[in-house]
Symmetry: C2
Subunit: 418 residues, 2 copies
């Protein structure tokens, strides 16, 4: 079954290459309309998922992730409309040259082809991945989480119906409609048909894909994020940045995990941080040697950190804090513990900032800003399909351009190689 | 042992990021000198490999691939000097923007980090991969073929000695000095240390890496290459292009495998092709239905093609020929049988050429030129470390820029996300 889907997806991709931006936009607009028109059917299917989730004992946070209501659906529909407004990168010609022998060479931006996505929980991913893929001329094979199979099935059905009135083949979106885990195993072997695999979910899912996939995998989305506060920083402003990075949305990958504080300001600054953030419900995790910086009446929100705690992505209102002697120890700590997602320095010393930028090998390196900006919309891509922490192809937020590749075109006058 | 190499390679890579182009060039120049100065030791080690090869019954073609002499060594040394003359892409700043909120964002080109290479036979690969990797700021872990272990060991030793007089860490080049296949298995799991794996060798090696590697793999180098001759083509010039593509160097990946001929000119052109190329020792492989195009006295150099024969990379003086009705059948054939390496059209009809360019999804698409131009030097990269046929990261010839990635730098004034 999976191979047949692969063949159809490849075939759809070949047709999509030749489809004009306007036709893709028209189809997306019609899909947005249809998803809104059919909202009752989608919400009904989603209700089934929610009930199933309750019955199988999912916790409230997970139920909340999979739940749709009119407002969330409105946002999903709005996301598609945003994609329409983005420029189609396909067809861009670059690196144009004519060699001395008369050979004309250029590169042209083309869709990647077939995108496989494996994701958990949130049904908005179904629409997000499809919308960006279609706009950049790619077909998709989607494998959503079993907890949202009813919602996803309904969404995909509506999209396919909408496509059937357009020039775009229905197979531009296909959905693996089974909760059987064997389907994933089989999917990961389809390297002849699927050009890129995008997992969205837990570290375990990424590791599973990396180990078992014969398709190139875009790993990412796991962020152990650091901010280092240098003695020269404006501490009041730094506190605001730290608070934003930690509490604005603690469950996401660009939230702050570890705060590194230069020793010279630790005695003053750490109590301030704790005093401020404990109001938001944050608890703090410090290695034994740094516990002396904690005031007695803050000890109720502090626990002892083991070395492994600095390798945890908290995804919750916990903040690791560690005192470092200075910039170089901060860089060393980040080098060892970062997942290469988002790491920053807070400083008014631009020389130190530059050393930090040069030395930190993460997808996004910050100077005096919250790590929460690592996001396709915030960084000007208009949307995002994933955040890559690997070094091949794309790094950081991935949107339309990151779903394309290029081919070389060489034009001669019956040229032969000497 | 392998993990320790990984740690050292990562550490070397961190130092290499900060090393200036001039220092890298000086080191490369000194290495070139030293390889030439020590040529006797290298050639002696190579002689051992050649003798071992004879004793273990390697055929002449394989012995020729692993054999070094003064001329070949001179070419290898010259290749390093060429790399010195290429521009270091590291540090390039691009996609610079300042958002309305005052946040400054740019991307900066950085080395990938640690490059793993697994290759067979030719000892020049040791020097080529290292030279390009160093110039682009990367460290390498090399695993050469067991047939050239003595040559590779000696070359790496000389390079490391040369490095020890420079600012560049010796661990910028490391060599897996064992013929034990388990080392490869272990190497493929080092995704924490090796950022990209470049296999160079047979289809089997690529498949093995794709199946077993947890490190992102650049697959490529397998070329089932096509030329389609359209009725409008200048047939005399086309013949010259076909001959060049087939016979100039039949054992390499960009050599022509299959010639597709439009029916309208098949009766005239196929006999001309055979008459001309048989002089060079080419034999021809056609499906049964096309045998009527062969003249009686050419039947001695023709054999019947099965469908599978069009999925073979010949790497020898065999040319598949197939008659197609026209452009669309040619595109369909290439779509099914190409490995996405290099495919071309010979035509004077520029409308057809454009349809071909739009429809063929290969790393390099040709109009009126030999497929032999798919090569880093020929296409203006100055060198090449591999030819990618996958769609992620880089496509076609890979040299310095293709051994880099980018990171995002975001500078604010204590910005928080709203």
């Amino acid at each position: 079954m999976l191979e047949a889907m692969g063949i159809r997806a490849k075939d759809a991709a070949r047709k999509l290459v030749l489809i004009h931006e306007e036709e893709k936009n028209n189809a997306l607009a019609f899909i947005a309309d249809q998803l809104w028109t059919c909202r009752d059917t989608i919400l009904k299917a989603n209700k089934e998922d929610v009930e199933k989730g309750h019955n199988s004992g999912l916790n409230d946070a997970l139920i909340d992730r999979l739940m749709l209501d009119e407002n969330r659906l409105k946002d999903i529909v709005q996301d598609i409309r945003n994609v329409i407004s983005l420029n189609d990168p396909v067809g861009e010609i670059f690196d144009e040259r004519t060699f001395d022998n008369g050979l004309e060479v250029y590169k042209i931006r083309v869709p990647i082809g077939v995108i496989g996505a494996i994701y958990e929980s949130r049904p908005n991913v179904t629409v997000d991945v499809f919308g960006l893929a279609l706009k950049s001329g790619n077909s998709v094979i989607l494998r959503g989480g079993s907890e949202t199979i009813n919602s996803n099935r309904e969404i995909v059905r509506i999209i396919q119906e909408a496509l059937s009135t357009s020039a775009i083949p229905n197979d531009a979106i296909q959905f693996i409609d089974t909760t059987d885990r064997k389907a994933v195993e089989e999917m990961l072997k389809l390297h002849q048909y699927i050009d890129i695999l995008i997992p969205r979910g837990s570290q375990k899912l990424h590791q599973y894909c990396r180990t078992n996939s014969q398709i190139p995998v875009m790993t990412g989305g796991i962020g152990i994020c650091h901010l280092y506060v240098d003695e020269s920083a404006n501490l009041e402003d730094s506190l605001a940045v730290i608070r934003n990075a930690k509490i604005q949305r603690p469950s996401v990958c660009n939230a702050l995990d570890t705060l590194l504080v230069q020793q010279a300001i630790a005695a003053k600054f750490i109590p301030e941080v704790i005093q401020e953030l404990r109001k938001d419900g944050v608890t703090f995790c410090l290695p034994d040697q740094d516990l002396p910086y904690i005031r007695e009446n803050d000890m109720d929100v502090v626990f002892h950190a083991s070395e492994e705690d600095f390798d945890r992505e908290w995804l919750s209102l916990v903040l690791g804090i560690k005192v470092v002697e200075g910039l170089h120890e901060a860089i060393s700590h980040i080098t060892v513990h970062s997942t290469g997602h988002s790491d920053g320095i807070l400083t008014d010393d631009m020389e130190k900032a530059q050393i930090f930028i040069n030395s930190i090998d993460s997808a996004v390196v910050y100077v005096n800003a919250s790590t929460r900006f690592t996001d396709g919309s915030q960084l000007g891509l208009g949307a995002e399909v994933a955040i890559s922490t690997q070094k091949l192809h794309a790094r950081g937020p991935m949107a339309l351009k990151e779903l394309t590749t290029y081919k070389w075109v060489v034009k001669g006058n019956y040229h032969v190689r000497k």
